[in-house]
């Protein structure tokens, strides 16, 4: 029979083990600290700051302090009272004099196209000498007596905003405070997200279909031949992605090599439009991504002893059954690691769609780049990046849940 002191001993032993383990963990954590600090400083914080732009945009709030206060008593219907118009006139004049008016005009214009010139015009009129009744100057511009203007300002005067995130999924607030889809001619991002995932999935599947037999071949031929094949796979892998993309434009163009060969072989009667098309994009992306899918599969296949398959045959397994029940289950971790790597890399493709894809083949990264570089609307870029990140994380979580993350660890 166990006595009380024994339990106490057991407890203290367990505690001692825990303590030593904790020490062990702290030590390994200590070794990783420099890396974690580097990641936090160079990766985590900048990304967090940039993504925060998607929900925090104080431009309108900063530009209209007086109007913001005056609008608190506004019902939200029609246009506000004269007091608000006076406050607006004072705000616009102050912005004009401090030189901030354009920034405010640009920010409101992103939400309400056409607002920019109206705001600049009004501000210039207010800044003239001898304006006795500023509210009526504002009201004389029809833009300011439109309810749409005021509901836009009402939404925009809060620095914390859902506008950009909603726009990134083609939604917007209506004047009465409910969510609605944006009109079809403006709805674009959901379609582009779907396209991005579709292209990524197609490319992943194509690399798997091409890569799996090749990996099997490399792992089963003699070592020297295998080494040559591996070099053949790796050589393009070491070439810059831009160079490979440019090479594909040379091959795929209308009077390019691929069309020449197809025509000569009689496969096709007319020259195909491979450039600026989905087919060309997927061919080029599959070529670039092949090593990413192949190498993890190959590294797992290499560890599988050929004697296992012989054992399966000798125990009466038919080739297909032996393959499916003995070989394949052992390769699954490699397949998953390779496919996940390729799929997630494909979600961020930018150069290849830009150069080889047509107008209807641009992926979400191309739109993010456009908002960063051309439109200078970094809020919108942050919102699209955030949605992409969330979609990717969610997909990763589902993947890990359904297939089991532990299977991704090396066998």
């Amino acid at each position: 029979m166990r006595t009380a002191p024994d339990t106490a001993d057991a407890k203290s032993i367990a505690a001692a083990i825990r303590r030593s383990q904790t020490r062990e963990r702290l030590r390994s954590f200590g070794l990783a600290t420099p890396l974690l600090v580097l990641l936090l400083l160079s990766f985590g914080i900048p990304i967090a700051i940039l993504l925060s732009r998607a929900i925090y945009d104080p431009t309108i709030a900063n530009a209209l302090p007086r109007t913001s206060v005056a609008m608190q008593s506004w019902s939200g219907n029609g246009i506000p009272d004269d007091e608000t118009f006076n406050a607006l006139a004072a705000d616009l004049k102050a912005n004009q004099q401090q030189g901030n008016i354009s920034e405010f005009a640009k920010s409101l214009n992103a939400r309400l196209p056409g607002a920019r010139s109206q705001i600049l015009k009004t501000a210039r009129a207010l800044d003239k000498e001898g304006v006795s009744d500023p509210a009526s100057v504002v009201k004389s511009v029809p833009f300011w007596t439109s309810p749409a203007t005021w509901s836009t300002i009402e939404n925009g005067r809060h620095a914390l905003t859902s506008f950009y995130l909603l726009s990134a999924v083609d939604l917007r607030w209506t004047a009465d405070g409910s969510l609605e889809r944006v009109p079809p001619e403006q709805a674009i991002f959901l379609r582009v997200f779907a396209r991005t995932f579709l292209v990524a999935a197609t490319v992943t599947l194509a690399t798997l279909i091409l890569g799996f037999p090749l990996a099997y071949l490399i792992s089963s031929v003699p070592k020297t031949v295998g080494a040559i094949l591996i070099i053949a796979v790796l050589l393009p892998f070491w070439t810059s992605i831009l160079v490979r993309t440019a090479a594909w434009t040379v091959l795929l163009q209308k009077f390019g090599l691929v069309n020449d060969v197809l025509l000569w072989l009689g496969v096709t009667g007319t020259r195909l439009d491979l450039m600026y098309s989905r087919v060309g994009l997927i061919i080029a992306m599959t070529h670039i991504q092949l090593p990413f899918t192949l190498l993890p599969i190959y590294s797992v296949m290499r560890t599988i002893q050929p004697s296992q398959m012989r054992a399966a045959y000798s125990l009466g397994g038919r080739p297909l059954t032996s393959f499916l029940r003995v070989y394949l289950p052992q390769v699954v971790p490699g397949i998953m690691a390779g496919c996940l790597l390729t799929f997630i890399l494909c979600l961020g493709y930018y150069i290849t769609p830009a150069l080889i894809g047509g107008a209807g083949d641009q992926l979400i990264s191309n739109f993010i780049a456009n908002y960063v570089n051309v439109e200078l609307n970094w809020e919108m870029a942050a919102a699209l990046s955030f949605i992409l990140l969330v979609f990717t994380m969610a997909l990763y979580a589902v993947f890990a849940r359904v297939l089991g993350l532990d299977r991704l660890k090396p066998v």
């Binding site: 354009s102 214009n109 196209p113 920019r116 379609r191 396209r195 200078l376």
Partner: protein, 350 residues
């Protein structure tokens, strides 16, 4: 003998002073970022090199794609290694609004009233005028198009045609081809119905359009016969005709005139040198020089007389090319650009 020796000493002293004082002169450096290609080469010959010769100020060149994202990142982080940047007109407006480009002091440059209307803006001064035109290869196309708007006529001119993957110019041409007089184009385009009308017109040729992004593409597309006609910037096509001896022809009727500009980014380190350069290139005789190296016209109204005689007939603002044209309205694109780009992209994806 003695006199010669004195002469020698004097010469040696002058030489010594010249040699030792050169580094002081060379320390003055002006960094200019332009958008590369044949256009930057032309600027180098017409302005960069003569400017350095005249003033001793060395010019450090950089290249970029013409998008302001890079400049915004410089200004936001307070590290601006460039003193001048060349930009499209619509981009000047955008950069001015976003507080990235410095408002200019024209008293240090030139008389603002001497520039063509719309080519001397608050944050950018015009460098040249270029035309968005139609180009074709007469050896391929049997019948010659007479107006840019012929691009919409697929019956008379069957085959693929190339247009810039951008709403600006295409929407204007679509409305004009649909019968809107050129002086009302922007008025109509500012209404939702006008935008619908323009897209509906573009719909009629959508399946025949190949889209281009970079300025060098139109000439390539024509040369490889991927298209029978293309919209283009006139200088690029003229370049293909003059230096690559391509048989291309330019259609001027219906052209849209635009200006290239140059601006000072906010926080630039050598604003005085930058103004010196702006004043130099804005002199009428210097402004006219670029036309000898690329077929883009001067933006000063009084510069035409200085343009080389052989260059003049190839310029977009040569009198015989100005029979029917539209001047791009940058204020309009400042207002509706972002919205129309989004709608254009949505339309492309349909």
């Amino acid at each position: 003998m003695k006199r010669q020796f004195i002469k020698f000493v004097a010469l040696a002293t002058v030489a010594a002073i010249a040699i030792t004082s050169r580094p002081v002169l060379a320390a003055e450096e002006l960094s200019i970022m332009a958008s590369g290609g044949a256009w930057q080469d032309a600027q180098r010959k017409a302005w960069f090199e003569p400017f350095t010769e005249e003033t001793g100020i060395k010019i450090v060149e950089q290249e970029y794609l013409g998008d302001l994202g890079k400049v915004k990142a410089m200004v936001d982080t307070g590290n601006v290694p460039i003193d001048l940047v060349t930009v499209e007109t619509a981009t000047v407006l955008q950069g001015c609004d976003a507080g990235i480009l410095e408002p200019l002091d024209y008293s240090k440059i030139a008389d603002q009233s001497k520039f063509i209307e719309g080519s001397a803006l608050k944050c950018g001064v015009g460098l040249d005028a270029y035309g968005d035109i139609l180009a074709y290869d007469p050896t391929v196309l049997k019948e010659a198009p007479t107006s840019v708007l012929d691009i919409f006529d697929t019956k008379k001119f069957p085959g693929k045609r190339a247009m810039r993957k951008f709403p600006a110019q295409n929407l204007e041409w679509a409305l004009m081809a649909d019968g809107v007089p050129s002086d009302q184009v922007y008025e109509v385009l500012a209404t939702p119905e006008g935008v619908d009308r323009a897209f509906k017109k573009l719909d009629t040729i959508k399946s025949d359009i190949v889209w281009w992004d970079a300025g060098a593409q139109p000439a390539q597309l024509l040369a490889s016969q991927e298209v029978v006609m293309t919209t283009a910037w006139n200088g690029r096509i003229q370049n293909a005709i003059d230096t690559d001896s391509k048989p291309f022809k330019i259609v001027w009727d219906g052209q849209i005139l635009e200006y290239d500009m140059i601006s000072i980014p906010k926080g630039a380190k050598n604003p005085d040198l930058a103004y010196k350069y702006l004043a130099y290139i804005s002199k009428p005789e210097n402004n006219a020089k670029l036309a000898s190296h690329i077929t883009y016209g001067p933006v000063r109204t009084d510069a035409t007389e200085f343009v080389a005689a052989d260059a003049l007939p190839k310029l977009p603002n040569a009198p015989e090319h100005m029979k029917s044209y539209l001047v791009a309205d940058t204020e309009f694109w400042g207002d509706y650009g972002e919205d129309l780009v989004k709608r254009f992209n949505a339309w492309l994806a349909q």
